[in-house]
Symmetry: C2
Subunit: 346 residues, 2 copies
DNA sequence: CTGAAAGCGCTTACAG
DNA sequence: CTGAAAGCGCTTACAG
């Protein structure tokens, strides 16, 4: 009857439900539920009748409804800066793999480095009742997530720390990595080293700058503030900054680039120069080894960041709600390829 | 009372509902619903009381429940090969932006080029009742999606065509692009041109091979089958293939690489060679212009593929269910950077 | 082994 | 302007 009521043909947006299957198979709703979920306690004959009805009707369980009753949605959210950025691809994929291993789907969105959009997205995901949230912060105040976390949304911050709340955080050792990279340049004889980085309000940028200053200080070198340039990482600004510190009577002989966008632009600037200038960049990038010279970098493991964060999230979900928030820092790795081993021009 | 029943403190996984808000504000459920959804017909005073209860309780509407009643979930699914592949980043992001403009969230997953996993993922998304599906096929039989499409899941295939079903498809002009690239090499004097591509069961690979053969034939050149190598695109196989066609008494003087992974490996092989060999690659990649020589490529617009597909999907969702499936082909673009303009060695 | 009733948290359709 | 009842499609808790 239910069938007839909805018409003979399957119509758009009119999907069969367990009720329809039950009616067709001549069994109760619960029996259909048992078969669909592979529960025991159904005679083979009954099961066959239900299976036939399922096939005939093209039934597929509505997991949205299931989830409402169950409590957990078996989905987690990922808020990142930009899905199109090559740094976030491997990170996303790693989060996805861990989610998959736990039977969860991944909903993700880009904040476009806009704190309001980050908040809007994160809260929309909470409204969908994701079980957990992996956030790569764009903003620096995450108090808006406090009620959600309290309500049980497992939340882990990655790449940058949470702002003004206590929460699990997985970071790269930005300070140590930058310090190592600059120390590497110093070891190769440089004393005037430039630093071009992102806006200092961004945690990673500030940490890397701090690493630069620490390495210089460790070596007893004084930083001329004309060697330091912070701001947006668009090609225009970076190019101007690089050209400025490479000219004048006392130009820098080496540059430490604060992230891969900066590195690429600096490579372009250096390609147009006559004399060799050393370069070490934070973040590895594809083909860095194929350039001439190969680009020496401080590599961070984007996939490991994602994996570590997602594993932490599921551990919390699997019973560890009351564990104290932890801050995990992953090591970086210097990969020497040539550009960082050039000595200062005589 | 409801409040007391669930304890004074907000406990994990115990979120306030509209019922709780209604009880606290001393109004009916429907009135809370009206305030939450910004519907008219509520006195300012009532509204204020409800708002206060919402704040006090930390209420956030459960969109999962809402969705169950509404029918549409305001979410779409994206099944792609690998989120970590730089080709899919911009494509994903473009789909996300269109979804966002339509108030929908994006759930995505990687098939890892495995047809079974593609199916599992796509059907899991259908079970969640996504409104639509953007699929980058791994398999070549999509009949499993027929009931879903009939039931109203708007579905668009991207990058590769759907197998054995009629459905909207957005593709790059793989044939034309490859033909143009090979013709470009012929124009620069080459007559022995190699082709290294992916497995021919993959549609894009087959089309590009067809373009290669067409260009050769158009120029009256006969293809020696020793110049053609098809298979997986791992570095080992590609390297062996390239080295084979570059050696012997009649080596190729130019190579057309079937995708960016192949291109990168070929660049590495050529870097170790003494004489110059021309190269054109299908797919653009970052820093292609910084290599020496810059790599000439046939570029496809990944973002445009994603955007076009998502727009098509939402058009269907916004009333166009009964439009006939369409096949949209986007043009490719040759970008000359040096490697494709090298003449044959004398 | 099987099923009727209640409920997950909302919205819809309706009545006052 | 406001709210009680029914229902979205499932699962839970229970009874037979």
């Amino acid at each position: 009857m239910a069938e007839t009521a909805r018409g003979t043909e399957s119509r758009y947006g009119n999907r069969p439900t367990m009720k329809d299957v039950a009616a067709r198979a001549g069994v109760g709703l619960k029996t259909v539920s048992r078969v669909v979920n592979g529960e025991s306690g159904v005679t083979p004959d009954t099961e066959r009748r239900v299976q036939e009805a399922i096939e005939a009707l093209g039934f597929r369980r509505n997991d949205s409804a299931r989830v409402l009753r169950k409590g957990r949605t078996a989905s987690i959210g990922l808020v990142l800066e930009d899905l199109a950025d090559p740094f976030y691809g491997p990170l996303s994929r790693a989060v996805e793999e861990v989610a998959r291993a736990h039977g969860a789907l991944l909903i993700n969105g880009s904040s476009a480095e806009d704190p309001d959009r980050e908040q809007e997205l994160a809260l929309a995901l909470c409204a969908r009742r994701v079980d957990g949230l992996v956030v790569i912060p764009a903003g620096d105040d995450h108090r808006y997530l406090e009620p959600e976390i309290k309500a049980g949304v497992a939340t882990v911050f990655v790449d940058r720390p949470a702002g003004r709340i206590e929460a699990d955080t997985v970071l790269s050792d930005n300070f140590g990595g930058a310090r190592d990279g600059v120390a590497h340049l110093i070891e190769h004889g440089h004393r005037r080293i430039g630093f071009i980085g992102d806006q200092p309000r961004i945690h990673t940028a500030a940490e890397r700058l701090r690493g630069y200053r620490a390495a210089m200080e460790d070596a007893g070198l004084t930083v001329d503030e004309a060697w330091v340039s912070l701001g947006t990482t668009d090609a225009g600004r970076v190019r101007t900054a690089a050209e400025a510190m490479l000219s004048g009577p006392e130009p820098v002989t080496a540059i430490f680039a604060g992230n891969n966008r900066v590195t690429v632009t600096v490579v372009r600037v250096l390609a147009g120069l006559s004399g060799p200038v050393a370069l070490v960049g934070f973040d590895d990038f594809e083909l860095a080894d194929l350039l001439q010279p190969g680009v020496t970098v401080i590599a961070q493991d984007a996939a490991a960041l994602g994996r570590t964060a997602a594993e932490r999230l599921f551990r919390r979900l699997d019973g560890g709600q009351d564990v104290a928030p932890e801050r995990i820092e992953l090591a970086t790795r210097l990969i020497a390829r040539g550009s960082g081993e050039i000595g200062p021009a005589r």
